[in-house]
């Protein structure tokens, strides 16, 4: 794709009702960028999982707090930043969902899926204390 980089910013309240809206926006962007169906699906799921975590665990459903989703669209990759206004967490402290003792736990797989499906994932605590998830997915070459 021959184009200059673009940034798309979305800011939502901390309500799970926005998840479908974010999903639609992500699907539109991956479709515009020419991602194949499978890649688009995994990007969509990764963004949805990140935003779910930001709303539920970061902002704890506090309606006064926002979640920012920033998409960086370039010719060869899609960068996504999901930022909440919570207290952050240490990603290294999360239990491994593949460990036998965790296999039958009902939760704890979202970040594992994000790491599995995106080409690069970084977790940072921002200056205000909230969590930032930086994700990158390369556009598959034709």
């Amino acid at each position: 794709m021959n184009m200059t980089a673009s940034k798309i910013e979305v800011c939502i309240g901390s309500a799970l009702e926005y998840l479908d809206l974010v999903q639609i926006i992500t699907d539109c962007i991956t479709g515009f960028m020419g991602f194949d169906e499978d890649s688009a699906q995994w990007v969509g799921m990764s963004v949805r999982e990140s935003v779910t975590n930001a709303i539920q665990h970061g902002n704890r459903l506090d309606q006064s707090k926002k979640v920012d989703i920033l998409y960086e669209v370039t010719a060869d990759h899609l960068g996504i930043l999901v930022r909440d206004q919570g207290k952050g967490f240490r990603v290294d402290d999360l239990p491994n969902p593949l460990d036998p003792e965790n296999l039958l736990k009902p939760s704890g797989r979202g970040i594992f899926y994000i790491r599995s499906f995106m080409d690069r994932v970084e977790f940072k605590t921002n200056e205000q204390g909230g969590m930032e998830v930086h994700m990158l997915k390369r556009v598959p070459s034709n």
């Binding site: 296999l103 797989r109 899926y113």
Partner: protein, 112 residues
């Protein structure tokens, strides 16, 4: 999220369609299976062939439902996994937990 329940002998087949995501979708699965267990049902098949979307909470709900059924002396099997659900279960090693079928008759026969 919608579930149609069929009875084949003493097996309950739950035809799931739509999204199994955080909130409403996961609650529908949980409540439907709970009702079956309360009415004495022990053999349950979740037909996931028409599930259009699932997230990690939906996968978690499948696990939670599985353990609930097992803890009450029942059995739960999965039928007609979509490609996506299959991959999500595979990479989290959950295909080692669930019995999975792509043929309903075979799934029903596996209870006997």
């Amino acid at each position: 999220m919608k579930i149609e329940t069929r009875t084949v002998g003493d097996v309950k087949v739950l035809d799931c369609s739509g999204k199994i995501t955080l909130g409403e979708g996961t609650m529908v699965v949980r409540n439907t299976v709970r009702d079956i267990l309360q009415n004495g049902g022990k053999k349950i098949i979740l037909n996931l062939g028409d599930v259009s979307y699932i997230d990690s909470s939906g996968i978690g709900e499948l696990v939670s439902t599985f353990t609930t059924v097992i803890n009450q002396g029942g059995q739960l099997k999965l039928l007609n996994l979509t490609k996506k659900i299959h991959e999500l279960l595979q990479i989290t090693k959950l295909l080692t937990v669930f019995q999975v079928f792509d043929n309903e008759n075979a799934a029903i026969a596996s209870f006997s």
